[in-house]
Each structure stands twice: as C-alpha cells, then as structure tokens.
Symmetry: C2
Subunit: 209 residues, 2 copies
Amino acid sequence: MAYRETEKMRQRKAQARQRIIDSAWACVASGGFRNARITRIAGLAGVATGTIYRHFESREDLFAEIFRTATQREVDKVAEALHGPADAAARLEAALRRFAERALRAPTMAWALIAEPVDPQLEEERLLYRRAYAELFETAIREGIEDGSFPDQDARLSSTCLVGAIAESLVGPLSPTLSGQATLANIDKKRLVDTLLAFCLQGLTGTRR
Amino acid sequence: MAYRETEKMRQRKAQARQRIIDSAWACVASGGFRNARITRIAGLAGVATGTIYRHFESREDLFAEIFRTATQREVDKVAEALHGPADAAARLEAALRRFAERALRAPTMAWALIAEPVDPQLEEERLLYRRAYAELFETAIREGIEDGSFPDQDARLSSTCLVGAIAESLVGPLSPTLSGQATLANIDKKRLVDTLLAFCLQGLTGTRR
C-alpha cells in the first residue's frame, strides 16, 4: 500500500513551515538578511536545522520567500493608499508618505528590503519590486494629468524618479552600517518625510511647496 | 642569497596585471559582471587562468577593482562638470546631464555599475559610491542656496533624491534584462535626459521648467 499523507500530517507540516517563515521574518526584521542565521531561525521555530531544508531548498530560497512576502505587503499598502475619493495628487502624496513612514517605523526590515547588500538572486527580485512600485505611481500620475492635478509629463519616467528619490533618501537614515540607525532615533522623522515629499511633488508639479 | 625581483620582472608583472584589468574591463563593459568569465578574461589578456589568481586573490577582488576604477572615473567626470564659472544651478545641471549622457553612451557598463545584481561585496562599494555622488551634489546645492539659484532646502536630503532619481530612471533604459537594451536604440535619448533633468531641477527649485 502506497504511503499516504494524512490530513493531520499535512497540517503539522504546514504549521512547521509557517513557524520557520515567522522566525526567519523576525530575524530579518531585527538584523537584516546577513545576520539571519539558519541555526537561530531553527531555534526560534523550535525545529531542527535539517527540517528547514525539508521545507526550503536553500537558505536563499527561504530568504527569497521572506523578501517577496514582506515586499508584497508593502506594495499592497501603497496600492491601498492610492485608492480613494481624493484627487490623484493627494492620493499619490498619501501613498509616498505611507511608504516612507512605514519604512521609518520598521527601519531594519525596510533596509533589508530596499538596500541591504544581498545575493544577486534577491537583487533580481528587488529590481522587479521597484518596477511594481513605479507602475503604481505611473498610474496615479496619469490619473493626475487627466484630472488636472499634475501638468502633462512623461508619467513613466516621473514614476521611476519617485521610486529612486524615495528609496535613496531613506537609505541613509535606515542603514545600520552607513550613517547608522543610532542616529535614526535623533532625527525628526516628520520633517524628513515632509522634505522628501516636497522634493517629489515639486518634481512632479514644478510648483513650490 | 635571497631571491630578488629585478626591475624588468617587476615591469612585466605590472604589465600583465594591467592587461588583466583591461581585459576584465572590456568583458564587463560588453556583458556586465555576470558574464565576465575568468577564462575569457585570461584569454583576452593572453595569460593563463592561474596567472590571474597570482595578481588577484579572487574573481571578486578583480571585479571590485574594476568596479572601483570605473566608478571613480565617473565620479571624477561629474566632479569636473561641477567646477566652472557658471552659477551653481547651471553647474549642477551640467553634472547631472553628463552623468546621464555618459551612462546612455556606455549602457552595459553603466548598468553593471549602477544596478546589475552583484555580490554583496560589490553592493557595499556601490552604496559608498552613491554616497560620493550625493556629497558632490550636496556641495553644489549648498552653493546654489548661497548664490541664490536654489531656494533654501535640506541640501543633504535633496542630494540623495537626485542620486536616486537619476540612477533609478536610468535603470529601465539601461537594463539588458528588464525593459531591455533592444529598446535603448529606439528611445530619444536627448528627450529622456531633458525630462529627467526637468524632474530633478523642479524638485530642487519648485519652478516649472
């Protein structure tokens, strides 16, 4: 008789997988991808190290899953902020603000997702996600040109400028290695976000904020 | 008697090293870091593969040298454009234009330096160089605030917005994998650079271009 996985076994397997993901997530959120050691993840999840490799082909595969899930969550939050009754400029401003504020509230995770030096496999995923943000912004810019809240412009190019400006200007404040998160506690986050948004919206509108 | 390297031997060693660097440079410029195989570099340089490892500890070390030399050359070109008799806004515009135009003229090398997914070691270097560009721009923005060509603003933050906007908006056009260099031949490069500069300068000045 062929071996058959019972429903209970399937459930336990799924639960172990979820515990591994949650533990890896917590490790990345507290120290970035580089410091997320498999032994520590296994310890947190309450499984043997070998068990992790029954659920994920490699450390890289596990991290790619964390990266995708965490980034998709951020993309969804931005997409959510882009919906609503306000004009396109106001919605885009709300979305950019949400992106920046969420990053500053969870700086290590944001650094891991945006700028931590990672393996080329994750870098590839990162480039795709930056494209996903740009596409969301591009749609909003087009709507803004339509509803008169933005002057006519190359929406695609402006959207990549936004992604670049916001990601790059957060890299410094978020980086645990460069300028240091030691200083993050001391900076005026509201002022940082306001200043960043002023640059972005001036870039889009050519009107002084 | 201790073995002593003669002057002639030193020269030949230095020449071999330079040929290896030139060959690696040519490989990266034509296909990025990923496609720069050591065997091909050795073939181009006319040395045995093993010889490369007498000059560089590893493939990564050789690539780090190419990365540093090539990026430093670009940083120097930008710094050069920032000097001159014009007002700070005009000099900064010239520098941003030079960065973008040089990237579009050597798109594969620019992609390799700016955005190609690479090993974490090179990623670290990349973050440092982005900081170098930001510092150059920051100085020019401060000078512009001083000479009245820019309104008062957080020069440091605006400089990182510039680096991000210009790097990110070039990633698409330059990428051999994403949108593809196949399309690079078909895009209006002058219009691309003008549009990008308009966003950047509007971001800095809040005045419609």
